[in-house]
Symmetry: C2
DNA sequence: CATTTTTGCGCAAACGTTTGCACAATTTCA
DNA sequence: TGAAATTGTGCAAACGTTTGCGCAAAAATG
């Protein structure tokens, strides 16, 4: 049997309440007594029982982490594990625990989330994606359950806490980087636009064009289908057209990698014929040939900040819903710059 | 305030203990009463309080997941997230929760693990790696704390529960696949051999050679350094030697990808001059040019099995330490086969 | 029909904390 | 020097379950 608060109390010659208060550094215990108690704790290797503490203080010190419902390919994106690692590392420090919830469909996720919240298993959820009309996010909102989004909120913007990059600005910078290299015929390849980050990146791309007096060519701005085959077809079409772009902003390294492949097949040289900038700065960007210029979104830090906000709101329930913007940075490599 | 067991008891006109026993389908409650209770639970949307239940039954229904202490690059391997997803999905089903623990060094991990086990935050740990002389694993073993390894145990083999692929067999199959293609000069590129999977794969490689009457060439069997630059240097050396191998078994897709790059630089055609087989069957294997033949180790399933074993041992403390072998399969692609 | 066995349920004591309140001891103030 | 304010500590009731034990009522037995 593990050592309990009573054991410590007995050894220190005080009552359990005094021990409890010492743990929380309560001001009404004298420094002298605290020292005595601390020594006893030390000696016995005391660690407060997590369950008992949670039951008494009516919380769980547990944060749910919701992965997007998706196909396996999505999870190859190192973004998710990095975000989880960020969250975990912060939780580990703060004596919180975290639990991943995953499922193949929104419904599966929802059912797990419902029992978790009802049974008090978690104090709140960090949702690792942001999507329009998502039933999970809608449920959390409607129930008034605490949650923070990684990604930009789609609705109820002022009532939801979210951690995001400034994806509009990031895409703008990516695009302007290409404009500075002299490109005018710049395309954008995005994914499902109901995902907020993809929509934002597209918006930033368009903004950059407009601000630099470049007309927007609707053929250049593509929302690619999910299936790889269809993606390849669409890209091939774009690159084979008479009015082929000379530069492309791509919403994701993996997609950019595929793009590079197609370019090679079509004998288009990168960055000479086609310059590329993409997002995430994952390992794949460094391994690709030529190496990909990519925007690093600091996924680990997104996780840290999300956990920090979460815990802050758990412990101070009447805080306002704030948003946090985590900085990004452009990492220039061969795919966009002849000088390198 | 959430609905408690007392509310249900009152509505059903029974005592709290009856409700509790109904939840666990205790045989000494009549079917009639159970039905009455179940209806009350349904009506109120009752979900037992996780903390209270855990406190009373002296467990935590929580599993710690230990990531290897490492540099960021390691986590780009989709293996980890897939294993976590497997664990989570099983936990979600069984009303368990899981918490990821991560750190930069073994010491950091150890300190978190110590407080977690002392405070009863977790019932056991699933360790996502297996390594010789690892202080985390040693600590868990010495304390007699429940843990399961994903990977093969290094010591105390009969006392530790582990879930693994048969990496020896897998590497053997990989090597034999190359031998069948007519190769005799086959090399092996591994990583840190204190990691069990790397050592096993090397053993399997050597076994295959021996069994097929091929002499083992020590120059062909390399334990590559961690730094990418040094890796490249070593590989270049191997490929530039007079006695260049014609086929290579590589312990990891990411490394194989780098190998492909070097081959291209050296104007070695794959699979004509060099055939390659690697491990993990990650996205990168499918994206590489040429596509990589790779052994799929079923990381998601490894996670599922690990969670299943863990829960089994939590609920039946006097079970023996068993090992589970999860099947792998070879996925043949362009990098090893001319026919494709 | 009386006795024993079985069945079905409730009582109440845990589980290990937290925290409002009471209260003695000490200090401050007039 | 006595009253009031402050300080430091302990008591005991929560928190919402689980579970050993006891005890009626019902069923089985002789």
């Amino acid at each position: 049997m593990a050592v309990t608060i009573k054991d410590v109390a007995q050894l220190a010659g005080v009552s359990p309440s005094t021990v409890s208060r010492t743990c929380k550094d309560h001001p009404s215990i004298s420094e002298e007594t605290k020292e005595k108690v601390r020594q006893a704790m030390q000696k016995l290797g005391y660690e407060p029982n997590f369950q008992a503490s949670n039951l008494a203080s009516q919380n769980s010190r547990t944060i749910g982490i919701v992965l997007p419902p998706s196909a396996r390919e999505t999870y190859e994106n190192s973004f998710y594990l990095e975000a989880i690692r960020g969250i975990s590392s912060f939780c580990n420090q703060k004596q919180y625990i975290n639990t991943v919830v995953t499922g193949n469909t929104e419904e599966e996720l929802l059912s797990v989330i419902k029992t978790m919240s009802r049974s008090g298993q978690v104090d709140g959820f960090i949702v690792l994606y942001s999507k329009q009309d998502d039933i999970v996010i809608n449920h959390l909102y409607n129930e008034g359950f605490l949650y923070v989004l990684i990604g930009k909120a789609y609705q109820n913007i002022n009532q939801t806490i979210y951690i995001d990059n400034d994806n509009i600005l990031a895409a703008q910078e990516a695009t302007e980087h290409l404009i500075k290299q002299g490109h005018k015929k710049i395309a954008y390849l995005g994914g499902d636009n109901s995902l907020m980050f993809s929509a934002d990146r597209r918006a930033g791309y368009q903004l950059a064009l407009t601000m630099n007096g470049i007309a927007i060519n609707p053929n250049y701005c593509q929302e690619l289908p999910f299936k790889k085959k269809d993606q390849i077809k669409a890209i091939n079409q774009l690159l084979s057209s008479d009015d082929r772009p000379t530069a492309i902003v791509v919403c994701d390294d993996i997609l950019a990698f595929t793009l590079e492949d197609i370019c090679e097949e079509l004998k288009l040289s990168i960055p000479k014929d086609i310059a590329i900038v993409s997002f995430n700065n994952s390992l794949i960007a460094k391994l690709a040939t030529p190496k990909l210029t990519s925007i690093d979104v600091n996924s680990y830090q997104l996780g840290i900040e999300a956990a920090s906000q979460m815990i802050n709101h758990i412990e101070n329930p009447n805080l306002m819903a704030t948003k946090i913007i985590v900085p990004h940075h452009l990492v220039v490599r061969e795919s966009s710059s002849l000088d390198r």
